[in-house]
């Protein structure tokens, strides 16, 4: 097998990527699903997650985990790493947003526009993908690699327009990567001098990128139903990531999977929002932390451990944190009583109910009796999301069946139990790699690997 498909999930907090044989959809074999170790070059942290972050330092620009570490080490409130830039891609006037200057806290030199920083990050991401592919014994043998990226169906009706802009950004990033190559992965980042000589060239000579677009929800449908004889015809997906919570519905019509756009909702509250609620609650209750310094110290301690805190709260209903020899306990109930959370939850359940109405309506029209519901993303295990999926509906048909965030195949023996715990977060990239071409929202072609894998010295084609 030498034809492979690669899917990049450029997330608000983390980018992920996975590869699968091009015929995986029709001849599914779990062991051939390859999540890629985008952070394999780091010695700590999850190697499958590439932090979506850029830090503009004195004389250089740092990427990913190194960017976050550097910003943390500086501990300067006026200097920040650029994060969550994916949300920028969702605005209606994308060109204008990209041409905005980066804020001073991000770029003290006042030399970068948002577009520059995004292109730089994408180049880093493409290089990480490249190296991860080369390091994977199976993927490294690919002779052809067709590529797609996953994105939410942000703008109703204009995903084609958005796709063009993003393909252009990827093309510029690829051109930049061709000029700079492996240096992108240096833990010390790239010197500004390198960037200022290479970036203008790259922007002026974007490479033609063959990269398709798959909606994130469609990717979720793909991994849920791959290899299943009894895959449902209708599916509602709730994806709670870091930056957004997205609801989307899909219907299978013959061999095709279509999205039901009326069901689609994107909320700007997700993991990051829950983080702030938790941190504020803890600080409010910590009567001993009244001074600004104590509070900001506690805030930092909380943020560093936030993922573990959330995981415990979601799984066990509570989390305990030891700080200055004292236990601080926070429960899911505390969160549920918070006014901001309540407002979010109300919106979320209304959006879910609406989406469910749309997808059940479509199921009825097509003579189907079942709708499947699934949660994906880092927040998939949240009890308030799982609760929505399992909520009783007033009318009995079509019935709603909650599917587990981790499909049965991810428990296959060959993964030795270690894929399942990380699966929900990698799910979109995996589903995107498994999905057949007719599930794409916009097409890209197939490029021979020679063109995909361009090293610095490669002759121009």
């Amino acid at each position: 097998m030498t034809d492979w498909t690669l899917c990049i999930d450029f997330g608000t907090a983390y980018s992920k990527a996975a590869a699968a044989p091009a015929d995986a959809w029709s001849r599914f074999e779990p062991s051939m699903v390859r999540p890629l170790m985008l952070s394999g070059h780091h010695h700590h942290g999850n190697p499958f997650l590439l932090d979506s972050a850029v830090f503009v330092d004195e004389g250089r620009v740092l990427f990913g985990r190194a960017a976050i570490a550097r910003a943390d080490a500086l501990g300067d409130k006026k200097r920040m790493a650029l994060k969550s830039f994916k949300t920028l891609l969702s605005v209606s006037d994308l060109d204008r947003a990209l041409n905005t200057n980066a804020p001073l806290s991000i770029d003290p030199h006042r030399i970068f526009q948002m577009r520059d920083l995004i292109v730089l990050y994408l180049a880093f991401l493409l290089e990480a993908v490249e190296q991860a592919c080369a390091a994977d014994t199976l993927v490294a043998g690919a002779t052809r690699m067709s590529r797609r990226y996953a994105a939410p169906a942000w703008r109703s009706g204009d995903s084609a327009g958005m796709h063009q802009v993003i393909v252009q950004l990827f093309g510029e990033a690829e051109a930049f990567r061709a000029l700079v190559g492996k240096k992108l992965m240096s833990p010390d980042g790239l010197p500004l001098s390198t960037i200022s000589s290479a970036l203008p060239k790259a922007l002026a000579n974007a490479r033609a990128m063959d990269i398709g677009l798959i909606f994130e929800a469609t990717a979720a449908a793909a991994y849920t139903s791959v290899g299943l004889e009894d895959a449902g015809s209708h599916l509602i997906v709730v994806d709670m990531g870091a930056g957004t919570t997205d609801i989307a519905a899909l219907a299978r019509v013959g061999a095709r999977t279509i999205e039901l756009p009326e069901a689609r909702v994107t909320m700007k509250q997700a993991g990051d929002f829950i983080d702030r609620i938790i941190a504020n609650l803890v600080i409010e209750n910590a009567s001993w932390a009244r001074s600004k310094d104590d509070q900001s110290e506690l805030w930092n301690v909380l943020m560093r451990q936030m993922r573990d805190i959330k995981e415990s709260v979601f799984a066990d209903g509570r989390a305990t944190l030891r700080h200055r020899g004292k236990n601080i306990t926070l429960s899911m109930r505390d969160i549920e009583r918070d006014a901001d959370f309540k407002a979010f939850y109300k919106n979320l359940s209304e959006a879910f109910a609406h989406g469910l109405m749309v997808v059940r309506g479509d199921a009825v029209l097509r003579g189907q009796t079942e709708v499947q519901a699934i949660a994906v993303g880092g927040g998939a295990a949240a009890p308030f999301i799982q609760g929505l999926l399992k909520k009783k509906t007033t009318r009995a048909t079509p019935r709603v069946v909650a599917r587990p965030a981790t499909p049965d195949w991810a428990h296959a023996r060959e993964f030795q139990g270690n894929l399942a715990p990380v699966f929900p977060q990698l799910a979109i990239s995996i589903g995107g790699a498994l999905a057949p071409d007719d599930m794409l929202a916009a097409r890209g072609g197939v490029s021979p690997v020679a063109a995909v894998r361009t090293d610095i010295e490669a002759a121009p084609d």
């Binding site: 550097r70 080490a73 970068f112 200022s196 415990s312 799984a315 030795q416 270690n418």
Partner: protein, 145 residues
């Protein structure tokens, strides 16, 4: 677009990155299963180490309240380690379930297994594999400590 750079002499602190270069992940993802396991174990190891440290603290705790506080942390760290390795709890403490010899270990003596039992200690599973069966008791039987 960036103007010509004015690189200042100060390089960024490298922190852990030097060490990182020396102890890069051993073999490059020879097997995906190996890489997944390594990643899961790295996180689980940390949680286990925490649990051990808290355990010492619990054993030295001066009073009941301090003991309970630390025990909570031991439990939390152990649960986290287990989750990282894909282990999940089976059932809910105190819940009534239909007795199933494949899933349940019945506490106490008795000739015939009852139809319904109460969960006294949750079992542990990974995917479809039950590693430790759920400990259950007969309804109405005195709860075991």
């Amino acid at each position: 677009m960036p103007a010509a750079a004015k690189p200042k002499a100060k390089p960024p602190a490298r922190g852990a990155s030097k060490k990182g270069a020396a102890r890069k992940r051993a073999a490059p993802a020879a097997s995906l299963a190996g890489a997944l396991a390594e990643a899961a174990w790295a996180e689980a190891d940390l949680a286990l180490a925490e649990a051990l440290a808290y355990l010492d603290e619990a054993q030295g705790a001066g009073d009941q309240a301090a003991y309970a506080d630390v025990l909570e942390l031991v439990a939390q760290s152990l649960s986290r380690a287990a989750r990282k390795r894909g282990l999940a709890r089976l059932g809910k403490l105190g819940a009534r379930e239909a007795y199933d010899a494949n899933l349940h270990d019945l506490n106490g003596a008795g000739s015939r297994p009852p139809k319904t039992v109460r969960v006294e200690a949750r079992g542990v599973a990974r995917g479809g594999d039950v590693l430790v069966k759920t400990r259950v008791g007969r309804l109405g039987a005195p709860k075991r400590p």
